[in-house]
């Protein structure tokens, strides 16, 4: 693969191999002036991921540009790991994955196929094996549910940008899992002392803000559908996907934090903190930017989650139910 491609997708195995073959020491990378550009770009990757949830592209005009871009990736990773904050790890992994997605959408099918192979994804032209699809597709979004896709002989038919979206999730998972198991060399904390401190402070501030945002929440004021979803989840019953989605959008809309919503799910029989947190953060727009709206009563009924009582009369949206009840007090 040429250097330009490696610079665009620095997380692939071949890029890692390239860095290794350059035989540059940690000390050189962190302190030698000729790598100053890579360090500036490295900290930029982290800042943009934290502040905007997205990493912008830089112009890659020659091989030196590419080299600096490739080196900036391991530098950024070391900084993120040194800051040692799970929220940042997740946000950074997603931002890198999203950057890759924007690029992959425009690539030739052959190249996409090659990347898919690296993730052990069975991709055959515009078809993907349903098991790989289920592992990575955002199926909490109704458009992506398997039932709404053309599935034939084990393969799901998808468009090129959908393949890119699936790869985005595979990339995010890979980067996150790598970061969790990575240790930052102590020199990193020296080289980026100020930057690490600054981002850490911002993270603390952000957490405090979230705590203030939530007001007092009364369970008795919830509409019956939400009440029964909550009690089903709390008693450890397997609640269908759409049910989980619905309750998350609702709790988010009335101001619960990700951690509080997460606590609700911790009694689920198949509770997986990392995965659940990621999904909650996605649905609530914490890392994705898109906040999913709470479904209206019609939809909830179609999903078989409605158990309306007398109090629901004339109400078309669960949030209206909640607001009316609160106003009456």
């Amino acid at each position: 693969m040429d250097l330009f491609k490696l610079a665009k997708y620095p997380f692939i195995a071949e890029a890692k191999e390239w860095v290794k073959n350059e035989k540059v020491s940690i000390d050189e990378i962190l302190f030698d002036e000729i790598y100053e550009r890579a360090r500036v770009r490295g900290i930029e990757r982290v800042r943009q991921a934290f502040e905007r949830g997205f990493i912008s592209n830089v112009a890659l005009l020659n091989e030196i540009d590419c080299m600096m871009e490739i080196f900036s990736y391991p530098i950024a990773r070391m900084i993120v790991v040194a800051i040692d904050n799970d929220y940042l790890l997740r946000r950074y992994a997603l931002a890198e994955a999203k950057k890759a997605y924007e690029g992959l959408k425009e690539e030739e099918f052959e190249f996409i196929q090659m990347i898919a192979k690296e993730f052990d994804i069975e991709l055959d032209g515009n078809k993907i094996h349903f098991v790989d699809y289920l592992k990575y597709a955002p199926t909490w979004d109704i458009k992506w549910k398997l039932v709404n896709k053309k599935l034939k002989a084990g393969y799901v038919f998808i468009r090129k940008n959908e393949v890119a979206r699936i790869l985005q999730e595979a990339i995010r998972k890979k980067i996150y899992n790598e970061l969790v198991n990575l240790f930052a060399p102590p020199e990193v904390k020296k080289a980026f002392k100020d930057e690490i401190m600054e981002i850490r402070n911002k993270l603390i501030l952000k957490q405090k803000k979230e705590e203030i945002r939530k007001g007092e929440i009364k369970y008795e004021d919830f509409p019956p559908c939400m009440q029964s979803l909550i009690s089903a989840i709390k008693s450890g019953l397997n609640v269908p996907h759409v049910g989980r989605f619905t309750i998350v959008t609702f709790l988010n809309a009335i101001g619960q934090s990700v951690d509080e919503i997460l606590k609700l799910f911790s009694s689920s029989p198949d509770f997986n903190e990392e995965k659940t947190r990621y999904q909650i953060e996605h649905i609530t727009g914490r890392i994705s930017g898109t906040i999913y709206a709470t479904p209206k009563c019609d939809t909830i009924r179609t999903w078989g989650l409605c158990n309306a009582t007398e109090e629901c009369r004339g109400i078309r949206h669960p949030l209206i139910f909640y607001k009316r009840k609160r106003r009456r007090k």
């Binding site: 094996h129 098991v131 039932v147």
Partner: protein
Amino acid sequence: MNFLRKKFLEYYLNPKIDFPVRFDRREYAFILFEEDTMHRHISFKSKEDLLLYLKTNVPAHAYYSSAYYRNPSAETMQEKQWMGADLIFDLDADHLPNANNMSYEEALRAVKEELEKLIDFLIEDFGFGEDELEIYFSGGRGYHCHVHNKKVLDLGSQERREIVDYLTGRGLDFKEIIKEKRIGGEITIEIDMEGGWEKRIADAIIQFFEDIRKMEKEKAIKKLMEIEGVGNKTAEDVYNSLTAERMRRIKAGLLDQATAIKKILKPLVKKVAVSLYSQTDEPVTADIKRLIRLPGSLHGKTGFRVTKVNVDKIEEFEPLRDAVVFKDNKVKIKVEKPFKIKMMDEEYDLKKGVAKVPEYLAVFAIARKFATIG
């Protein structure tokens, strides 16, 4: 000794067990006669050990885990260490909307239809080979379908739930499936006939219209008006529009009559979908650590054997003949609750009081608590 237990012991002295693959990685569980608790977290190093357990303890119900564990006999999930799980579908009469009004035999027949739908989905849509599917009569009110394919082993429960949603049509978004197009004032629906739910719905629509066309007008109108939201006028319009030319267009994927079609969609989806769970309980398939009846063991509430059914022999399979293990020597029983049943191709109509019946029927009646030993 209790009659049922004695009969079960006779069977377990020389049983026909189909041992699950990765035999020693499974957890086994048993319910013994006259006990309510389940003995769990049991594992066996060898097949002989399991056979010995059955012989010695004579369980009323025997189960094994769909999951594989590093330490199957550990007591907590954490210590067990989950390694993967078979994909299993549980079809039970209790999942059918009108199961309460059916006799045992009717319910079993209805479940068999669901089974055939399931298999068609698994082969056509999910691409599993016939040789990867293993079907068992559960001994009770349904069938289990096990899928053996290495790609599905480590699927988590959310992913498995997506498979269930696909089979049951849950979350189906008509807007995604059916794309409306306006051609010269009339709304037409364009359908992709190649595969997936879109094709299944299209096939159902075509079948439905073909059936309507074959009916006399009066009957056809009545049938159409059974659909919620279809009045006399719409019914008549639809009926009159079903010319040979129209049928050709429909088969090519162009569905005119968009309004009427949208109304028949919902009932058709129900017909196409597989009934895998009822409104109140959640699908077994999504549970990655559930227990399933041991193939070849006996069901304590019927005395029937959990019996393998060949995929290409489903049609011929008669549970009340092929899952019977007991003999036909006569046994005296006291019937407390009258019942009718066809077993081993014989019709029985039992009234209250003492009766002499074949042993297999005595086992069934006593297990079901319709009778006691006379």
